[in-house]
């Protein structure tokens, strides 16, 4: 067991633009952002400020135009294309707003995809994903197809898929946006309790101030920069102030 690195995520001066010439859009304008292991970190800000772009860059799905990104001490942009995919497969879990489950696979099979991608035998992969789905309260829905699941159930399957291979960093983009309040609360509850471990970190992009109280830190973003970072709001008055 190697020592826990000091930082799970370290972004320094990250810039990103799309297009060139007249079509050039500068989305990230020098982002400095860190997440410590063991933290559940929120990324909030107005629509279009670059939140999704930032986590895509952190997750290695997009390249930066300038600056550096380190995950657990590893500068992922220095890895070869192939190794970056492998790094992502081992170390990252994803939760999307639209769940993005494969409609032709059952809940258990969907949750097992990262293990299958890593080359595990189907039986072993399914055993592990089933055990996890039981913990997430889906023992009765394991063989159901996504179309037969409610939004909350689908998001829990997606959560299982993000957790099943025990990645060190989980990134979630608006995981509760498509859910009603109670279901969103329940999903965040599960995320907070199962994903946050001393050597792991979670980044959640959200507009949903009803769930801010789950955060250890909240990074506020505006126009391509992190403007400030605050700690967990002490009470619900924080939510009220931001709504």
């Amino acid at each position: 067991m190697t020592a826990v690195p000091e930082l799970a995520v370290r972004c320094a001066g990250v810039e990103k633009h799309f297009g060139d010439g007249d079509a050039r859009v500068q989305v990230l304008r020098g982002v400095d952002f860190t997440v410590k292991p063991g933290q559940l970190s929120f990324l909030v800000g107005p629509s279009g400020c670059g939140k999704t772009t930032l986590i895509s860059v952190i997750a290695g799905l997009l390249d930066t135009t300038a600056g550096s990104v380190e995950l657990f001490g590893q500068n992922t942009e220095r890895l070869s294309a192939e190794n970056r995919v492998l790094f992502r497969r081992r170390n990252l879990g994803f939760v999307f707003q639209q769940y993005n489950l494969l409609p032709s696979l059952t809940a258990a099979e969907n949750a097992a995809v990262p293990l299958l991608a890593a080359g595990l035998k189907r039986r072993d992969a399914l055993d592990r994903s089933r055990a996890l789905l039981v913990r997430l309260g889906l023992e009765k829905r394991m063989d159901a197809y996504p179309s037969k699941l409610s939004g909350g159930q689908q998001q829990r399957v997606a959560l299982a898929r993000a957790l099943v291979h025990e990645p060190r960093l989980i990134v979630c983009d608006e995981p509760t946006a498509a859910l009603d309040h109670a279901t969103g609360e329940a999903v965040m509850e599960l995320l907070a309790s199962s994903a946050v471990q001393p050597d792991r970190a979670v980044i959640v992009v959200t507009h949903d101030n009803r769930v801010f109280h789950f955060a250890d830190t909240i990074a506020h973003m505006d126009d391509g920069r992190i403007t400030h970072t605050s700690d967990r709001p002490p009470n619900s008055s924080f939510s009220a102030a931001h709504s």
Partner: protein, 379 residues
């Protein structure tokens, strides 16, 4: 991940069936048309192939294919016999008189007059009667299809009479001679009788059939005969190919089949390619999610190829089954006898359809390879 790929492929039953159907349809059409084409082309030399007693066909240099012959001179037979290496050489008459039945049915017929003494040139398989009876005066042997053409719906029966050019002749045997190109009856008679079935022509020695002595190949013998006599000599298989070649060059048959085959290919490629491509486009989001999760490009290409090859294989199997059934049914019909699903066609189409699905999947593969995994975050 293989089962994931297969599940994705079959998840939408209707699209999957559409894809399979497109491939099956093209497979069926291609096998069907190429086999029928080859079958029809092979028929142009049916009567050549039916002669098993001789390996070398000698003819006037002006004769290009079996049907249309320029007569040889009687002395040509002796000249061929004089070529060293000839074991035996016999004459073959070919004429096309009209045959009539007492009931009034009639049809142009292909009459082959074979050597009186040896009966060389007769097809082997008799369905009814014997070759020996051909020695009786005014006797002929007719093929089954020709019999049924002249006596429709009647059972095969010997000793019925047919009239050709005022000659009343008796059917003493029924053969299953290979189907000719045009569906005329094939009638065999002794040479000396056959010449009388045609009014005006005194002699119509169309071919001399020869066989080499042991130790001389048919190819060698054709060369010797050509050198010695100035006549044209061909081995059985060379002459069959000459006929095929002639029909290829002088009829619209290859163009017609070529068009159908081309259409089948294009439809196969376009429809299955398009269906498969659309299928990938619809699943792009899923591929994007897999990419984000960390499925390598290498693996994704494998998944798409597996999907394409599976659809291709199932479609091909279905189409081949259909084609086999088609030919099984039609080979029982007298008019289409001998036209079968050629293994060469089955193999050729397999290769073609393989290339079609690979080509169809290339666009899909490209699309998935350039796909930005970051798009999965977008709604």
């Amino acid at each position: 991940m293989n089962f994931v790929a297969l599940r994705m492929l079959t998840a939408d039953r209707a699209k999957y069936l559409g894809l399979i159907f497109a491939i099956a349809f093209s497979t069926f059409l291609l096998q069907n048309q190429t086999s029928i084409f080859a079958g029809i082309m092979a028929r142009t030399g049916s009567q050549i192939a039916d002669v098993v007693d001789a390996d070398v066909w000698v003819m006037d240099p002006a004769t290009k294919y079996f049907e249309e012959t320029k007569a040889l001179k009687d002395t040509d037979l002796l000249r061929v016999r004089g070529v060293p290496g000839v074991d035996y050489a016999v004459r073959l008459f070919k004429g096309q008189p009209v045959a009539r039945t007492p009931a009034g049915n009639f049809s142009a017929a292909i009459v082959l007059g074979i050597d009186d003494a040896t009966l060389v040139g007769a097809p082997r398989k008799m369905l009814l009667g014997t070759w020996e009876r051909l020695r009786e005066p005014n006797s002929i042997v007719i093929d089954q299809a020709g019999y049924l053409l002249l006596f429709p719906g009647e059972p095969l029966q010997l000793d019925r009479t047919v009239e050709m050019n005022d000659h009343l002749v008796r059917i003493v045997g029924i053969t299953d001679a290979s189907a000719p190109f045009a569906s005329f009856p094939i009638i065999h008679a002794r040479y000396t009788e056959a010449v009388n079935f045609l009014g005006r022509e005194r002699s119509q020695m169309a071919y001399v059939l020869a066989r080499p002595v042991a130790g001389v190949t048919p190819e060698e013998l054709t060369r010797r005969i050509q050198d010695a006599t100035g006549l044209k000599a061909r081995t059985t298989s060379e002459f069959r190919w000459d006929c095929v070649q002639y029909y290829l060059e002088h009829t619209g048959i290859p163009v017609n089949f070529g068009i159908t085959i081309g259409i089948a290919l294009v439809i196969g490629l376009v429809v299955s390619g398009q269906t498969f491509y659309l299928f990938t486009i619809e699943n792009l989001k899923q591929f994007g999610a897999l990419k984000a999760i960390g499925v390598t490009n290498h693996r994704l290409v494998g998944m798409i190829l597996l999907q394409a090859l599976t659809a291709g294989f199932v479609g091909y199997a279905l189409g081949t089954g259909l084609a086999a059934t088609f030919f099984e049914v039609f080979s029982l019909k007298i008019a289409t006898r001998g036209i079968v699903l050629l293994w060469q066609s089955a193999v050729g189409v397999a290769v073609l359809m393989f290339l079609v699905v690979i080509a169809a999947s290339l666009l899909s593969i490209r699309k998935v390879l350039v796909l930005e995994p970051a798009t999965v975050f977008r709604g």
